[in-house]
Amino acid sequence: MLGLTSLVDVVFILLFFFMLAARESAPQALSLTVSDATETSAAASTSQGLLRVLGSGRIELDGRVLELSALMPVLRAGARDQVKVAVAPAAQLQDLIDVLEPLRAAGIGVHLLAPAA
């Protein structure tokens, strides 16, 4: 007769192992504050330091379309410590976070503009 109980024991222990191994790492948190100014009012007041997240790894800085990888060199060259960030309708949340991350890491102040309703 087979030792069925021991077999079940081993199968359960294997199951535990794979459940624990496949478990996703704990989520982290990012806090964002949106400015009261909307994108249209900010664009009307000044076009300087306005960064639009276009999505698909592209951004628009003061009217110039750039690849995301070119953002930090351009900002460093301009010695900017503040930017206003707006989003295009096509930009996804991941695109926005990909832009905010290097800005925060470089200590550049970000004013998130709410999209014009």
């Binding site: 359960f12 478990r23 930009a91 949340l93």
Partner: protein
């Protein structure tokens, strides 16, 4: 002279293996419940520089890939109407930090508008949950 002791026939169930399996089943369901509770149902965005969560949030909002907003399991609809806003406001007034489980593929404009709405009704400590980069 010692006579070999006659083997005593075992009667009844062997309890030890049964207990083993029952304990393993218990462990399995405990682990399953814990994994279910911890895993959000949306594909969180990936961020490298996010902070670990220090204190648990008392109000949890979920914005799924199709743009639908939920407070716990309660759907709040695409546009926040007055009833949804007052429910949020009441929850936010008593709750501490609010966390938003937003899908990575949600339009960023939708998230920003939601954040602005929440700020307007008095939510101060708002966190967007992210996944750490592997």
């Amino acid at each position: 002279m010692r006579l070999p002791r006659a083997a005593v026939p075992r009667t009844g169930l062997d309890l030890l293996p049964l207990l083993n399996v029952v304990l393993l089943l218990l462990g399995f369901f405990l682990l399953l419940a814990r994994i279910d509770r911890g895993a959000p149902e949306v594909g969180l965005p990936i961020a490298g520089a996010a902070q670990a969560i220090q204190s648990p949030a008392s109000l949890s909002l979920r914005l799924d890939a199709s743009g639908d907003l939920f407070m716990g399991d309660r759907p709040l609809g695409e546009r926040l109407d007055a009833a949804a806003l007052s429910a949020l406001q009441a929850a936010a007034a008593t709750a501490g930090p609010v966390e938003l489980h937003a899908d990575a593929a949600v339009p960023a404009a939708r998230v920003l508008m939601l954040l602005q709405t929440l700020q307007r009704i008095g939510v101060r400590d708002l966190r967007i949950l992210t996944r750490p980069r592997e």
